[in-house]
């Protein structure tokens, strides 16, 4: 049986169960067996009525959703890599959460890059009104390859979506990704954009906010060796009474370079917008470079928009304080770097991801030391 067939079978079965529900004792076949206790037991009996497929399967299973949403948000005109993806994508992840559905467990999607290949992953996440879901996209791989991913996320009215992107690509890989978010009225969207690997990395995270929305774009980038990581974000306040929060933190070591470019557009009608953007950078080496640039375009007159960027080094006083209490130099340094980064990590609402990130961060710092040791 092909994956698409199985998916279709399950979909039809789910519909049957949804229509009929648990049998009762009015049902002749179940006259003497009351299964109400099972239904009341509060156990996760039926899988949520959520469709989670490969995009290719979804083309057959949900043609109407594909027609309605795919390629409607990410722009082929403004970003050539989106055009490249749209022209060439073969597959990706598709997630549809119908309205008023709470998905308790986070959905993990893993992508593995293969040496010698270019892959254009195309993901579509459609979340219905009043629903709630958390999604983790992770990118890893080995060797020299090119990832060119596009994720479109549609957040329905009053829905809550948290999205984590973990970029842990191989040291020789190229990673270009666009996350395009469309927020309907009163919805709440949070993105955590974490970049730990890759040789050349560019992330574009863009969100369009409607009336009463809350949009959060957080990010963390750790660069070392010859890595280059560029994060471009764009928040489009298209309607009034929306709030956006943005916190990006970067830690640069070796001869690496990073870019933060944060665009905030407040359209003419978007009165009472409240937008806050912060970018903080910790530069660990003399050869590391950070370019940070806020780009605010405010066309409404009754708004609050703040932005700030800092670039600093490790606090020598704090380092000495820790060492004077017996904590070794390397451990003290790592502890201060972690303290800097955890601000972003702590904001991730999925405990398992927070733990994972904590570990990944310390591993990355160790890698960084190995690189520095090899270079000297």
């Amino acid at each position: 049986m092909r994956a698409t067939e199985l998916a279709g079978l399950r979909q039809r079965a789910a519909e049957i169960f949804r229509a009929r529900g648990f049998p009762t004792t009015h049902d002749e076949e179940w006259r003497f067996t009351n299964v109400a206790a099972i239904a009341k037991a509060d156990l996760p009996i039926a899988a949520p009525k959520v469709s989670c497929h490969s995009l290719r399967a979804a083309l057959e299973l949900h043609p109407e959703l594909i027609d309605e949403h795919l390629g409607r948000y990410a722009s082929n005109d403004s970003n050539p890599f989106v055009a490249l993806n749209t022209a060439n994508f073969e597959d990706g992840a598709f997630l549809h959460v119908p309205k008023n559905t709470i998905v308790d467990e986070p959905v993990w999607v893993d992508f593995t890059g293969v040496s010698g290949h270019a892959t254009h992953q195309r993901n579509l996440i459609v979340v219905g009104a009043g629903s709630q879901v958390r999604v983790v996209e992770r990118y890893t791989g080995a060797g020299r390859y090119f990832t060119n991913a596009v994720t479109e996320i549609v957040v329905g009215e009053n829905a809550t979506v948290e999205h984590v992107k973990l970029e842990e690509e191989s040291p020789d890989s190229f990673h270009i990704a666009t996350i395009q978010v469309q927020q309907a009225r009163d919805s709440n969207f949070k993105a955590h954009n974490i970049s730990l690997g890759g040789l050349l990395v560019r992330n574009d995270v863009n969100a369009v906010l409607s009336t009463g929305c809350e949009g959060t774009l957080n990010g963390l980038y750790l660069t070392k060796g010859n890595q280059h990581v560029d994060n471009h974000t764009a928040l489009d306040h298209a309607a009034p009474h929306a709030a956006s929060h943005e916190l990006y933190k970067g830690i640069m070591d070796g001869a690496s370079s990073a870019v933060f470019n944060g665009k905030i557009l407040v359209r003419k009608d978007a009165q009472k917008t409240d937008a806050k953007q912060t970018n903080k950078n910790l530069v660990l080496s003399e050869n590391a470079v950070i370019n940070t640039k806020p780009e605010l375009q405010i066309l409404a007159d009754d708004v609050r928009c703040t932005h700030g960027a800092t670039v600093g080094q490790l606090d020598e006083e704090a380092l000495f304080y820790l060492r004077a209490r017996g904590i070794g130099q390397i451990e003290a340094r790592d502890l201060l770097i972690y303290a800097f980064a955890r601000d972003v990590i702590d904001r991730v609402g999925i405990p398992s991801v927070r733990e994972y990130l904590e570990k990944a961060l310390f591993e990355s710092l160790e890698d960084s030391r190995r690189l520095a040791g090899a270079a000297s």
């Binding site: 209490r325 017996g326 972690y338």
Partner: protein, 242 residues
């Protein structure tokens, strides 16, 4: 530091069980002395030696000195946002234990030790989960220093102006904490500008530091003399000693 000579003649022997007070006006080099002993690399020692338990202290990194039992209560405790007091203390305590070949304390043992010591300093337990010194008042920071000392149980404690800026209640709590820690195998050096502290922590010896030199040493009565005559006379003494 910056090519400036700060300390120019310190001859001091501190034995286990003793409490020494080093007094002196602003800029006399008191804090520099404490920082040099703790291993701050802002200062270069051009001459002289510091022998601690028979070994050359100046050859050790700051963390090694701490692991060997040296503790500096900072004049200006550093705020470290993002590092919890509890995590910090546990890392510090276990670093010392590891050095001594003792097993690391598990979470329960550590917590019970910490609870006992925090009660001694009359501090709220909620402080443990807050970031190190972040948002603490001046008095809370100083109390936190002595709390750390109580947990780490050093062999040589240097208290750098721990009394400065404390009101009388906080001063009593801090002094009581320090007095509880006095003992046969622990030496304490109290650095202060004010005689007031020495009413609460009574020293065995008092030394007067001026212009980078110890110009007078004596017992606790020296502090009282100083309180009456002020540091002016001492500075003259330093000049005549040159």
């Amino acid at each position: 530091m910056g090519g400036k000579e700060i300390l120019r003649g310190i001859n001091l022997t501190v034995n286990p069980g003793e409490v020494h007070a080093i007094m002196g006006p602003n800029g006399s080099g008191k804090s520099t002395l404490a920082q040099v002993i703790a291993g701050r690399d802002l200062y270069t020692v051009t001459k002289g030696e510091v022998i601690y338990q028979g070994q050359d202290l100046l050859a050790l990194a700051p963390e090694e000195r701490a692991q060997e039992g040296i503790f500096l209560a900072f004049q200006y405790p550093v705020e470290i946002p993002g590092v919890s007091n509890l995590y910090f203390l546990k890392a510090a305590l276990n670093a010392g234990r590891k050095k001594k070949g003792e097993p690391e304390l598990d979470a329960m043992e550590f917590l019970s030790l910490v609870r006992q010591k925090i009660a001694l300093m009359e501090m709220e337990e909620s402080l443990l989960n807050r970031s190190v010194n972040a948002g603490f008042s001046g008095g809370e920071k100083k109390r936190n220093e002595i709390f750390q000392m109580a947990v780490l149980e050093p062999r040589l404690a240097l208290l750098d102006e721990t009394d400065s800026g404390l009101d009388i209640d906080a001063l009593k709590i801090v002094s009581n904490g320090v007095n509880t820690l006095r003992g046969e195998d622990r030496a304490i050096v109290v650095i202060t500008q004010y005689q007031r502290l020495l009413n609460h922590i009574v020293p065995d010896y008092v030394h007067v530091l001026a212009e980078g030199r110890i110009v007078r040493s004596g017992d606790k009565s020296l502090a009282l003399t100083l309180e009456e005559s002020g540091y002016a006379g001492i500075e003259e003494l330093a000049e005549t000693a040159q």
